[in-house]
Symmetry: C2
């Protein structure tokens, strides 16, 4: 590991070796009683004559750096080790406010989580057992045989072209006018939202969103130091009058909306409201950031037209898509579809962050999407989650003395119970074996204290029933207090 | 796509349908001459009686929204389409200074690049033909059979545990004391460096680095709005006296160093200098960010001890590792090894950026690294690049009237030619079929104007010879001017 001395031509080699070893001893790299290599070994290591090494070792011992024990070798003495203060950095003093905020908003670290023994109503991850692993294997082998080594080398910040082209057509089929639009591939929705905010907002800028809203998005907006204005929701989406009022008070840099299976309420914004919201936001020339994360999980037959599609003739919708709620979230692939001019900047920001998203993963996903099994899979997943959704609703209504239940699909429902504090309820339930997500983390104000989100994607049917029985009991206990 | 009306119980359905379709017409969603579904189809779509639809269509035609043509159907008229102003956002006005900087520092967009017809001396990407694609196939199939669907679902921000554990041992074998250290997996070096700066630096903070330094790192430091102080280099690494002088003037938040096959100079910092730099930086309690990107590409037999290993008893080295210069950069996997306390914060920042790095890729890489072929591959790659390095040096020395050539290994050499401007040289060479990287993009000041980097990883032997002949000719032409 050490003794990797590079000689310069300016000084005698003996001197260079001496100084080098002295430094190793003084700085404590070579420690007390450590044995130096034999003179023969050292002469081979450094590629100098053995006599030079013998001279060096003699000097070192004469000057007190080493002790030579006849027949045993040369050992480091502690006379010349410069006793050093420890330079143990107190890292906490180096952590900036951004990172302190990131840590304090890191729910994974602070919230109670489902485990093998705790019913995981806190999770809205897809059920891994639905993934078609054999299909993935075929896709991988196909893509390797098509792309070969190319797929393993550096790619492009915008993404893997066949995947981009596929997603353009995919969005077109969903009604989006793709003229003058482009796509940037990101590491999931989270990175997409971060890149958009990094590009169009600055510290202190105002952003509007629904209240409540997706907790990770709320965290990201907070970490960008934005002035977050939550707009209350009706049962069919954001309250249009409030939106108008707020727009008249202050023009935000952007409005973030989750029109389809909103998180946490699962509300699907009505078509009329979509049109009204677009009309108003267009008239104020405000960019709309649309989170399309759950769009594929439509249980009913009716199609839901995205804001990006409804507002196709304009260029102010930034659509962030992801298939992570149904397909392979472990791969972390999402996309941003927006005006070409904007994508060009987003691309440079993406390149500065991590060069590009894994080309291997993008290629596998492309191969999967273009195959016939994708639509089959979506049908299977919808059927599976629809069944769970109905069961969840049934038990929620049966067991919970709710003031309100929201839920039209997706992977979760949202519940409000009067007279309780959901964190107190969670603490009680957790002891009994259930985790869920307390509603307060979704709110821009303190309105959510008596709400909670129930994710059913990873809970079995038996767990769903048992989970609600436990919550019901815990509510009774809290109310009896 | 449309006609996805959700009824409320408050109003008669006929009115709701009327208003809904009127809105679609007024806002231009339904366009002139478009045919409405037949009354029978519409009654099925909306699940209302056919008579209601007949009533609605009659009203629409009476009010001028539609024209009914007997036996043909009901068509949208243009009388009620509200002609709207276009709300075409001028995106450039929304782009913040960060994104404008990212775009202007985006060399991929602005620099001349190698192509199929242009000798790619600008590239230091690994040669894809060295990748062992069959091994990757085996690793993928192995990991799928071991991990199954797990590997496709959400993972953890810190990374895939078997890979983390592997890398800990790997770093330990390189002499790093891993007690109280931890590892965070990132999307390559670029993301790792971004995460570190996002955690410990703030706008206006001072950071030291070698001058010249890695251009992408320089871009990242600029995008973090840091006050960058470049410290000149000697032939064996950073100038220690200058480092000391600058430290005495101003304490930086961190020092960024590339001790091994420095980019762009390819200098390997001498062991004595490593110890001296560590000593000084420890005494000032300054964090050291070590870029270990090229450490695996050692052509000589001697080992090079990283700063992380030499300074193992302290906790101030943040080591950012990557195998992208030899293995599969398309996967974008790197790691940060640092004090546990710091990694805990870096992990929260990573989670806020993109949740985690692809678990599929991490698992494939782990499977590859733990196999026997990794060390075989590294030997093969070293031999291949060593050969090219020697050829590059030979022709550089033969053809270029250099003032100085730096280069001890890695995938590039760095050249200084008196009396030329390397951008002018590049413009001339590009016309003749050669791209290289002008030196100015590596410098924190204007010293690099007559330098350039020659990357040889992707050039063939014939291209290396031809490339230098062209550069030689271009230099003569410039000097003759």
């Amino acid at each position: 590991m050490i003794f990797n001395l590079k000689f310069t031509s300016k000084t005698h080699k003996k001197i260079q070796i001496e100084n080098y070893i002295k430094n190793l001893i003084e700085t404590g790299i070579l420690q007390k009683n450590e044995k130096l290599p034999s003179t023969r070994e050292m002469s081979l290591l450094l590629d100098v004559s053995r006599n030079t090494i013998i001279d060096v070792y003699e000097t070192l011992t004469n000057e007190g750096y080493t002790d030579t024990i006849k027949g045993k070798g040369t050992f480091i003495s502690d006379k010349k080790i410069i006793s050093k203060e420890s330079h143990h950095l107190p890292w906490i003093e180096f952590i900036n406010t951004h990172a302190l905020d990131a840590a304090s908003l890191d729910t994974t670290k602070h919230e109670l989580r489902g485990t093998d023994d705790i019913i995981p109503f806190d999770s809205i991850s897809p059920n891994k057992n639905l993934f078609d692993i054999d299909e993935i294997k075929r896709d991988f082998l196909n893509i390797i045989s098509i792309e070969g080594n190319n797929i393993l080398n550096y790619g492009y910040a915008k993404g893997y072209k066949p995947l981009i082209d596929y997603l353009k057509i995919y969005m077109k089929h969903k009604g989006v006018n793709i003229d003058n639009k482009d796509i940037l591939i990101t590491n999931g929705f989270t990175e997409g939202f971060n890149i958009v905010l990094s590009t169009i907002t600055e510290k202190g800028d105002t952003i509007f969103c629904e209240n409540p809203t997706h907790n990770t998005s709320l965290k990201i907006m907070k970490l960008h130091n934005l002035n977050i204005k939550g707009i209350d929701m009706d049962d069919d989406g954001i309250n249009i009058d409030s939106l108008k009022d707020e727009l008249e008070k202050e023009l935000p840099k952007a409005v973030f909306l989750i029109p389809t299976y909103h998180n946490p309420t699962s509300i699907v914004m009505s078509p009329e409201k979509r049109l009204k919201a677009i009309d108003i936001l267009n008239s104020f020339n405000v960019p709309i950031i649309e989170d399309g994360f759950n769009e594929e999980l439509r249980y009913s037959n009716s199609n839901i037209t995205s804001l990006a599609a409804l507002n196709s003739s304009n260029n102010n919708v930034i659509y962030i898509g992801s298939l992570s709620k149904i397909l392979f979230p472990g791969m972390r692939i999402g996309w941003i579809m927006a005006d070409k001019e904007l994508i060009d900047y987003l691309e440079s920001v993406k390149r500065s962050i991590n060069i590009h998203t894994s080309f291997l993963d993008q290629a596998i996903l492309y191969e999967y999407l273009r195959g016939e099994n994708f639509s089959k899979y979506v049908r299977k997943a919808k059927k599976y989650y629809k069944n769970k959704y109905e069961l969840t609703m049934k038990y929620a209504k049966k067991y919970i003395p709710y003031a309100k239940i929201w839920g039209e699909g997706g992977l979760h429902i949202f519940v409000q119970v009067e007279g309780i504090h959901s964190r107190e309820l969670l603490a009680n339930c957790y002891k009994k074996g259930v985790a869920f997500t307390p509603g307060d983390i979704f709110y821009t104000d303190d309105k959510g204290y008596n709400t909670f989100r129930i994710g059913f994607s990873r809970a079995s049917e038996a767990q769903i029933k048992k989970g609600f029985e436990i919550i019901s009991k815990a509510i009774s206990e809290l109310k009896a207090k």
